[in-house]
């Protein structure tokens, strides 16, 4: 992904020549090493794991999670949390079927979905910044409300067709490379540029690192925070569309579990829940690890229980690694 280093990673610069240097290097890239280890071990243990078609599968599953994780990273960076992403995804997917199901509808579908995502992000952001509601609760509540609205809209089960172009985006491949990977690359590049190269990103890190400082240096912290929630909402909506195109049939399961998975992926990738610390690249690596592990479990023929248990172990081990590093 991007090689940009985040600003202010609190890693003391190693003294030249010391073993610290190796350790610092190892700890900075450990998450990538971990992913590499999973991939290599997977390749050895399950022959089909590294086959072209399986890699394509994994990529295709990685993309929607990756898109959501990017948005989640924005929110966590400002000391937030977005539990409403899954609900937004499903609602955006419903929007994809709300029109005639032909390609000409695509712009309208896009506009509607992104409008929904932005609106939810706005509500989340306003609750957090204006009413001081804790992000956990604010987004939990919008998640529930949005689900109700969606159910009322669809009477309980979405129905209708997704425009074919979304099928292409969601499930098409070109020489084994899924089209949706392009989508992710664009989103990731834009996200990384916004976070690591732009003034907005700098404002975001300052706001997350110390909101009082942000206030004192004239950063409109509330607006920055609001923007982070809107980004998360919009990206969740886009991920919802990509997932809707994955099968072409929309149901209430679109996005299920993404709220916790995206938080876990970000944390596994080194984004600190205490705010102000983490990168897009790290978060995406975290997401890749989750996808690789769940795929590997299936490839190894392990029971579904093993997948759940393994995920739990990975969460704790990876997260404790970052804490150990911070000490």
């Amino acid at each position: 992904m991007t090689g940009t280093s985040p600003i202010g990673m609190a890693v003391p610069a190693p003294r030249p020549g010391s073993a610290d240097r190796i350790r610092a290097f190892a700890s900075r890239y450990a998450i990538l090493l971990f992913l590499a280890a999973v991939v290599v071990a997977g390749g050895l243990a399950a022959p089909g794991f590294l086959s072209g078609s399986n890699l394509t599968n994994m990529l295709m599953q990685f993309v929607p999670l990756g898109i959501v994780v990017i948005g989640q990273t924005f929110v966590i960076l400002v000391r937030g949390l977005d539990l409403s992403v899954a609900s937004v995804m499903a609602t955006a997917a419903v929007a994809a079927t709300a029109f005639g199901g032909v390609n000409a509808d695509a712009p309208a579908v896009f506009a509607t979905a992104i409008g929904i995502g932005a609106a939810v992000g706005l509500v989340n952001g306003l609750l957090v910044t204006k009413r001081n509601v804790s992000p956990f609760l604010a987004t939990l509540a919008t998640m529930i409300v949005l689900q109700g609205i969606r159910f009322a809209w669809t009477q309980g089960a979405p129905s209708g067709n997704v425009p074919p172009i979304f099928r292409t985006i969601g499930a098409g491949t070109f020489n084994g490379i899924p089209y949706n990977v392009l989508f992710l690359l664009v989103v990731a590049a834009a996200g990384a540029a916004a976070l690591h190269l732009s003034g907005f990103g700098r404002r975001l890190y300052i706001t997350g690192g110390n909101p009082l400082t942000a206030h004192l240096v004239g950063i409109r912290a509330a607006r920055v925070t609001l923007a982070a929630y809107v980004v998360s909402g919009v990206l969740a909506a886009i991920a919802g569309l990509v997932l809707a195109g994955f099968v072409g049939v929309v149901d209430n399961f679109v996005g299920r579990g993404f709220e916790l998975d995206s938080i876990v992926a970000a944390v596994v990738g080194g984004v600190a829940l205490s705010g102000g610390k983490g990168t897009i690249a790290g978060a995406l690596t975290g997401a890749a690890i989750l996808v690789a592990i769940s795929n590997l479990v299936v490839m190894l023929g392990l029971p579904v229980q093993a997948q759940i248990i393994l995920k739990g172990i990975v969460i704790i081990v990876a997260a404790s690694f970052y804490v150990a590093r911070r000490r």
């Binding site: 609750l127 009413r131 001081n132 509601v133 804790s134 956990f136 609760l137 604010a138 939990l140 509540a141 919008t142 998640m143 529930i144 409300v145 949005l146 689900q147 109700g148 609205i149 159910f151 009322a152 009477q155 309980g156 009082l212 206030h215 004192l216 916790l260 938080i263 876990v264 944390v267 829940l273 205490s274 029971p303 579904v304 229980q305 093993a306 997948q307 759940i308 248990i309 995920k311 739990g312 172990i313 990975v314 969460i315 704790i316 997260a319 404790s320 804490v323 150990a324 000490r327």
Partner: protein
């Protein structure tokens, strides 16, 4: 300079505004329900609401403790599921097994909770992440134990959930109520209780003061696990059987009454009495919505809005520059 605010009795201290909001909402719902149906405001229906509060009450009681320390326990759902399966699976319809199995399950719940606490203390990872992880592990174990309902319990076992004292007062809900009062007393009048508030208020200061923060945390998560186990036993009593997803909904559901009842997610402020009122609010809300004939879709909307309403009314001004 000190403003003399009205002092509530000690057990109500903390999140005063919250309690007033919850009580106001309770009254509002009651009036609303009574105005649409003359069957609503009957003793029978109110006892019914009371009875329905028990499960949520038990699990929220433990959750209040973890949140008071500034943490959270997202493993309760899985723990309830696993332990409900163990309860019915091991009792397997045998009257003689009831007492040993229930005792064992309660101990096991406390042990799982303690393991959460130890992991949190030993790794320093945020409890949200740790318990998410252990929750996944426990869920996996539950599915290993069985993919569907396991075992059964003797008919008499349902007394906990459905049994009543004379006058139709639910046994389960009354047990929960008694436990709330007990824990409230504990929090306000024992050393450990007060220290739970202290470590939630400022963990760093607690360390420098030499408070046994780690031990208390382990104890608090053990308590959360214990109450999850008790919830599991209650649900087996209510459902006659344990199932692999029985507890799933309780993970997030257990948090709502806590925060609606005025306990701050940041820790150090609040109390279990607020949670109890929060539980009654949720219970009454469900009942009222069923009486109002509102389509189930809008019920979700209403629930979400109630959370937002209750919580955003009494959020604290963030301590800032002045």
């Amino acid at each position: 300079m000190q403003t003399r605010t009205l002092r509530l009795p000690r057990f109500l201290a903390g999140g005063r505004a919250a309690l007033l909001v919850v009580v106001a909402l309770l009254i509002l719902l009651f009036v609303l329900g009574a105005s649409v149906s003359d069957r609503f405001a009957t003793t029978g229906n109110m006892l019914n609401v009371y009875e329905q509060s028990a499960g949520l009450a038990l699990v929220s009681l433990g959750q209040t403790l973890t949140i008071l320390t500034g943490g959270i326990d997202l493993s309760v759902g899985s723990v309830i599921s696993l332990l409900s399966m163990l309860t019915s699976g091991l009792i397997a319809g045998d009257e003689a097994m009831v007492i040993p199995v229930v005792a064992g399950v309660l101990v096991l719940g406390a042990l799982i909770g303690a393991a959460n606490g130890v992991t949190i203390v030993a790794t320093g990872v945020h409890p949200l992440i740790v318990t998410l992880g252990t929750g996944a592990i426990v869920q996996g174990v539950a599915l290993l134990y069985g993919l569907g309902p396991v075992g059964s319990v003797p008919i008499s076992f349902d007394a906990f959930a459905y049994g009543t004292f004379p006058g139709g007062i639910s046994i389960g809900a009354t047990v929960a109520l008694a436990l709330f009062l007990l824990v409230s007393f504990f929090l306000n009048n024992t050393r450990t209780g007060r220290r739970i508030y202290a470590i939630g208020d400022d963990p760093h200061a607690a360390d420098l003061m030499g408070l046994p923060r780690r031990r208390i945390l382990v104890g608090v998560y053990a308590a959360s696990g214990f109450f999850a186990a008790l919830t599991a036993v209650y649900l087996v009593s209510r459902f006659n059987v344990g199932q692999p997803y029985t507890g799933a909904n309780y993970t997030l559901a257990s948090i709502t009454p806590v925060v609606v009842g005025g306990t701050m997610l940041a820790g150090g402020r609040g109390g279990v009495i607020g949670t109890l009122l929060g539980v009654y609010l949720v219970s009454l809300l469900n009942n009222t919505l069923n009486f109002l004939d509102i389509s189930s879709h809008y019920q979700l909307v209403v629930q979400g809005l109630v959370i937002i309403l209750a919580v955003s009314v009494y959020v604290e001004k963030q301590r800032g520059l002045a």
